[in-house]
């Protein structure tokens, strides 16, 4: 199962604490007196219902003011080697966790005077709740791992993240990350996130022998070719296309179709609600999906809604009972390690077929990034950490674990054939972050439910209902 882990969920904490609202970045550049004066003003500006934390935050302000002087001195010596403790919020699990820890170890080997303290967060359902809890609990954190642009936005709006533009220029990251990566990690023109890992989310996975025995010599490159594979696969007792509609993975199909129909820019605009959900662009996309359904791509609705992404992966790649499915790059690791398949030989990835509408190279991607948190006590170690992530040696650690790095400095010979191929495509394409992670949580949830409803009944009337419902929800939120 995707992001599910045992039990409960942590929720966000009411922001009663002015710690979050303080822009510590500006403290560093003020002198101590001004800082505590500012702090006192902020205290007084808090609303009356937030009485309790006022005591705590004024104490904290004094502490901050004291350390700010020390920090100013340290920042002044930015060229000195980083040292001290670096606090990292780490909510990853399984092998991603192991890779991250290997990366941290390499970092401390390079800068032996830095010790890394991890704040391990356990979560289920959605890590954001637990992350919020930690941040609001007053933990002084330097680095945060983030994979949701909408969350990054929320944190920026609440003053939790430190903008990295100055560091970017100082460390010359332009030669490691392209402008489109910088934009992907930015909010309102300022960059906050340094991606260390990304994945293509617009590729179809398939098993080589499944296609061959169905008489399909090469994987489909155009829409018509894709639809033409369906009867051949069905004749072989294989479900041509697996839609994992149980929780969230079906939304990827919608988004990739949207990108093919109207471009990555359309997805960008939809995420910002510059295009309405009940506009023709969205409806055309859904009708395209219907075309696929009518061509016999998929199993019945109940099966689609009962299939999760891991089932889909098993069906297509392990049991050879499915033709294609659309999912992110972690499938590569799954196929290699869990199924014991060889990339390129036993299974492959093909970008979603061309629709011929001029957007056939566009892609959606997901990425994991590091954010620098304002409450952190060790900004220059944090900056060194970020730098290391996109350096050749740092990113090699991720690359060896099968995680693609966006850095230009990465040695691409470390990638297997599948990742390398997808990297090539993405590097040239107009990319946009996965829609589901860009939407505010409430809309994202509604989006997935409504798409399930669409699958139940892809008629025109229902398309109108579904899109109207989404638009209504979006209107409330933007």
């Amino acid at each position: 199962m995707s992001v599910v882990l045992p039990t409960f969920v942590e929720s966000a904490i009411p922001v009663l604490d002015a710690i979050i609202k303080v822009d510590i970045g500006s403290f560093l550049l003020m002198d101590r007196e001004e800082a505590s004066h500012r702090g006192r003003n902020l205290n007084m500006n808090m609303s009356g219902s937030q009485k309790r934390p006022a005591r705590l935050s004024s104490a904290l302000f004094v502490a901050l003011a004291t350390t700010s002087t020390a920090l100013v001195t340290t920042l002044g010596g930015a060229l000195a080697a980083p040292k001290g403790e670096l606090v990292v919020v780490n909510w990853l699990g399984g092998s991603e966790l192991a890779t991250m820890q290997a990366f941290e170890k390499a970092f401390t080997e390079k800068y032996p005077e830095v010790t890394i303290k991890e704040i391990p967060i356990t979560w289920s359902g959605d890590a954001r709740g637990a992350i919020r809890t930690t941040l609001m609990g007053g933990e002084k954190v330097d680095i945060l791992i983030n994979t949701w642009p909408s969350f990054r936005q929320e944190l920026v709006e609440n003053g939790v993240l430190r903008p990295l533009d100055d560091v970017w220029t100082a460390k010359g990251w332009d030669d490691k990350l392209t402008k489109s990566w910088r934009d992907l990690g930015s909010v309102d023109g300022k960059v906050y996130g340094i991606p260390y890992n990304y994945g293509d989310r617009s590729g179809l996975w398939y098993r080589v022998d499944t296609l061959k025995t169905a008489g399909i010599e090469t994987p489909p490159a155009t829409w018509d070719e894709l639809l033409a594979t369906f009867p051949k696969l069905k004749a072989n007792g294989v479900t041509p296309y697996i839609v994992p509609g149980k929780f969230w993975a079906h939304a990827e199909v919608f988004e990739t179709l949207l990108i093919r129909t109207a471009g990555a820019d359309a997805s960008r605009k939809l995420g910002a609600h510059e295009i309405a959900w009940n506009s023709d662009i969205v409806k055309t996309t859904l009708k395209k999906w219907r075309e696929m359904l009518d061509a016999g791509c998929c199993a019945d609705v109940a099966t689609m809604l009962g299939t999760d992404w891991d089932n889909a992966s098993d069906i297509v790649l392990k049991d050879a009972k499915g033709g294609f499915f659309l999912l992110g790059m972690w499938i590569n690791n799954r196929a290699e390690e869990n199924y014991g398949l060889k990339p390129g030989v036993d299974y492959g990835l093909v970008q979603f077929p061309a629709l011929g509408l001029g957007h056939d190279a566009d892609s959606s991607v997901d990425a994991k990034e590091f954010n620098a948190v304002t409450s952190g006590q060790n900004p220059e170690a944090a900056d060194a950490f970020l730098d290391f992530a996109i350096s050749a040696e740092g990113s090699a650690i991720f690359a060896k674990a099968g995680l693609a790095s966006p850095s230009k400095a990465t040695d691409s010979s470390l990638y297997g054939p599948v990742i390398r191929a997808s990297n090539d495509v993405v590097a040239k394409a107009d990319v946009v972050f996965v829609l589901g992670d860009r939407l505010p949580a409430e809309l994202g949830d509604e989006y997935r439910t409504q798409l399930q409803k669409f699958l139940q009944d892809p008629s025109d009337a229902n398309i109108d209902r579904v899109t109207d419902a989404l638009e209504a929800k979006a209107k409330e939120l933007y």
Partner: protein, 273 residues
């Protein structure tokens, strides 16, 4: 109880129990079979081989001993707290008269419907302000506090059938209310107290939400093993190991203490016999 019983009872119950336990057998097999073999189902006999890989890897990768100890401390404190305080409260509600009796009981019993998520936010701020984050008490206090909703109800229910003559006799004898509680009621209430203890142990041992949020440096088993599951990995074999390890202790407690349920364990010092 009596040793004379028909054979049909264990046969019937046994058959149902064995069927009941099939999913747990599945759990065990998932932990013992290589993950590649069981994608088509753990009951498949085609590639049957057993391996201890998952067990070994969980054992070596995670500091289980420390987590065990933390779980134990946390659970033992919470269980003792409830086992001591719930019968006292139940006795008070059942046999004593005092103002607000009904109202307080209504509040307490209804609090059971409160889901844990509701509790965590405000308690987090409270613990943060009092500096109790990362201390065991940040979890013990809510565990015990929230347990009263059902534990008081449970003990009180058992006490409702408690022979009133004993209480009256004690009163007549000049026993104070507290004394009656200590000498008369408590020794005869071992069964509900054992039941409360078993349940509280089980729920605290298995709980993950509060420890996940309030504890950092020393985490209990459930929190530690929650990290076994990767977000995009099917390491169900390791997750199964984690589940079995976690489950073993409450089950052992149940087996050990359920003998307090057997007839004769709670001897009545003054019943009709």
């Amino acid at each position: 109880m009596t040793n004379r019983h028909s054979l049909w009872i264990p046969v019937l119950v046994g058959a149902l129990a064995v069927a009941w336990i099939i999913p747990l057998v599945g759990l065990l097999l998932t932990s013992l079979r290589p993950p590649g073999d069981i994608t088509q189902g753990w009951w498949r006999l085609d590639n049957f081989s057993l391996t201890l890989d998952a067990w070994k890897s969980v054992w070596t990768k995670y500091p289980l001993a420390a987590a065990f100890w933390t779980s134990f401390k946390l659970t033992a404190l919470s269980t003792l707290g409830t086992m001591l305080l719930a019968p006292a409260a139940a006795y008070a509600f059942q046999f004593l008269r005092f103002p607000g009796r009904r109202l307080i009981l209504i509040v307490i019993v209804n609090a059971f419907v409160l889901p844990q998520q509701v509790v965590i936010i405000p308690l987090f701020t409270l613990w943060r302000d009092t500096g109790l984050i990362d201390s065991l008490w940040s979890c013990v206090i809510p565990f015990v506090g929230m347990s009263f909703a059902w534990s008081v109800f449970l003990v009180k229910n058992f006490l409702e059938d408690f022979p009133k003559e004993l209480i009256e006799a004690a009163k007549i004898d000049g026993c104070t209310p507290l004394g009656t509680f200590w000498y008369v009621v408590l020794p005869n209430a071992l069964t509900p107290i054992a039941a409360v203890g078993i349940l509280q142990f089980l729920w605290c041992w298995n709980s993950m939400l509060l420890p996940m949020l309030y504890l950092r440096s020393e985490v209990p088993l459930t929190v530690l093993l929650a990290r076994v599951a990767g977000s995009f990995e099917p390491n169900l074999d390791q997750q199964s190991v984690a589940a079995i390890i976690t489950m073993a202790v409450p089950l052992a407690i149940f087996i050990t203490f359920q003998r307090y349920f057997t007839a004769g364990a709670s001897s009545r010092t003054g019943g009709k016999e």
